[in-house]
């Protein structure tokens, strides 16, 4: 069963609605990176890249890329006015010290108590955790951006993660191609449906404990 209600850009647009004026935000690799393109015009946020940038800007114009200026995904980027540069220890002091208000990252699995797995498939894929373990261990506000199901159509929202964990009881919110959900009291709470997606479809794609209120509004995506 593969339902494509929101595409990756749609997920990023929905996450951009979670941004608040004055926040410092760390965006992970993949869908989270796209969120930077949809910051509401009436607010100011600064993006932190854990390799040592605060105030990260968009990709450079063709021909203006600088090998010394990359983001955590090793992509060439630019600096916004007011940006700053620092070493890796200072960068993680910002993260560990909870000076960054929001972390958005991808996941392979999330459990109903907020555990996240996103760094290793034993015997098959071993890329490492990068900064993800530091981020999820310390951030108060963690949004996971991911597809609701994997390529085989299996739910990524589980009672317990089967893959090696990145962090325990840390994810507070999930935005998928099907739904917006909150994690609390050991369950996924359905907040919104993606456009054109029914509650039944979300229930079928969610393996963990799902709490569905009487009224589940549809997301508003521009």
């Amino acid at each position: 069963m593969i339902i494509m209600a929101l595409d990756k850009v749609g997920i990023a647009k929905r996450i951009s609605q979670e941004l608040r004026d004055g926040w410092y935000v760390n965006l992970g690799i993949g869908i989270p990176t796209l969120v930077a393109n949809f910051v509401p015009e009436d607010i100011t946020v600064e993006f932190q890249s854990e390799n040592g940038i605060l105030g990260m800007g968009p990709f450079p114009f063709d021909g203006e890329e600088d090998a010394d200026l990359i983001n955590a995904g090793k992509q060439t980027v630019t600096l916004q006015p007011g940006a700053s540069i620092f070493d890796s220890a200072t960068s993680f002091a910002m993260i560990r010290g909870q000076h960054v208000q929001l972390t958005v990252l991808g996941a392979m699995e999330v459990s109903q108590n907020g555990d996240i797995a996103n760094w290793k498939i034993p015997g098959r894929m071993v890329k490492g955790m990068g900064g993800a373990m530091d981020l999820v261990a310390s951030a108060e506000n963690i949004i996971v951006a991911m597809m609701h199901t994997n390529k085989k159509g299996e739910s990524k929202l589980l009672a317990d993660c089967s893959l090696p964990l990145t962090g325990v009881a840390c994810v507070t919110r999930i935005i998928t191609n099907l739904a917006a959900l909150e994690i609390k009291d050991g369950a996924f709470h359905l907040l919104e449906r993606a456009p054109g997606v029914s509650v039944e479809e979300i229930k079928a794609a969610t393996a963990g404990k799902l709490i569905v209120p009487d009224n589940v509004p549809e997301m508003k995506i521009k």
Binding site: S49, E50, N51, G52, I53, P58, F59, P60, F61, D62, G63, E64, E65, D66, A67, D68, L69, I70, N71, A72, G73, K74, Q75, T76, V77, L79, I85, F86, D87, S88, A89, S91, F92, I95, R96, D115, K120, G123, V126, K127, G128, M129, G130, G131, A132, M133, D134, A137, S138, P164, L165, T166, G167, V168
Partner: protein, 233 residues
């Protein structure tokens, strides 16, 4: 007059690096890596190295060059996803790998240079990373004990340096270089531009010369870009 740290080139700078040693290498991805010293070590007959570096380069550049020649016995890194040869050697058991959270890696190097033997961090609690490590609650939250890292040689790359070993890094090429410079028994700095003492503004120095034992001006920097992402005008 300041203490002069200048050596002629990578060959002279890497003198004393031997098989079985532990090395720290600065850089994030291919950004801010000591290209000259890595090339030199490929030529040297040194093996069984333990390399502490956030990443492992790509197949044909950076630390990937040492991996290709099987000169590395163990890698201590946080993310190695860009290197197929690395993944092959790791999955086949040829290469020993210690993957640790990036912030813990940075702080462990900083601690090593700062004389702090260990510290508690929340990163990795409840995961494989915490296995065998002391856990203690602070402010109601569990933390794990992480030990400092040091190295026989730390090899860093800076933008500008002076004869006294003072270093200035450029943009995101700073990354792990300042902490690793602190944590080497001998720290080698290769720089794009080496200037006489007194030339750099002391207010702008990122790494003070006390942490650097050998400095030289590098040559032929390739500064390869891993992910060239641009937008159109």
């Amino acid at each position: 007059m300041a203490i002069n740290k200048v050596v002629a080139n990578a060959q002279e700078a890497t003198k004393g690096i031997e098989s079985g040693m532990t090395l720290m290498l600065g850089g994030f991805g291919l950004c801010g890596i000591p290209e000259n010293c890595i090339s030199e070590m490929v030529k040297m007959n040194v093996n069984d190295l333990t390399c502490i570096s956030n990443n492992a380069g790509v197949d044909d550049f950076g630390l990937g060059l040492l991996l290709q020649k099987k000169q590395i016995k163990k890698m201590i890194s946080s993310y190695v996803g860009e290197n197929d040869e690395f993944e092959r050697q790791m999955l086949s058991g040829e290469l020993e790998v210690d993957l640790i959270p990036q912030g813990s890696l940075a702080e462990r190097c900083r601690a090593g240079g700062a004389g702090i033997p260990a510290f508690f961090t929340p990163a990795g609690y409840g995961t494989e990373v915490a296995e065998g490590k002391e856990v203690r609650d602070f402010n109601g939250k569990p933390h794990i004990l992480e030990h400092a890292l040091t190295a026989d040689f730390a090899i860093v790359k800076a933008w500008k340096g002076d004869t006294a070993g003072n270093l200035i890094f450029k943009a995101a090429a700073r990354n792990f270089n300042p902490m690793m410079a602190m944590a080497g028994k001998i720290t080698i700095a290769e720089v794009e531009e080496l200037v006489p003492e007194g030339t750099l503004d002391p207010n702008t120095i990122h790494t003070p010369g006390i942490f650097v034992q050998r400095i030289f001006q590098g040559v032929d920097y390739k500064k390869r870009i891993e992910q060239r992402t641009v937008r159109q005008k």
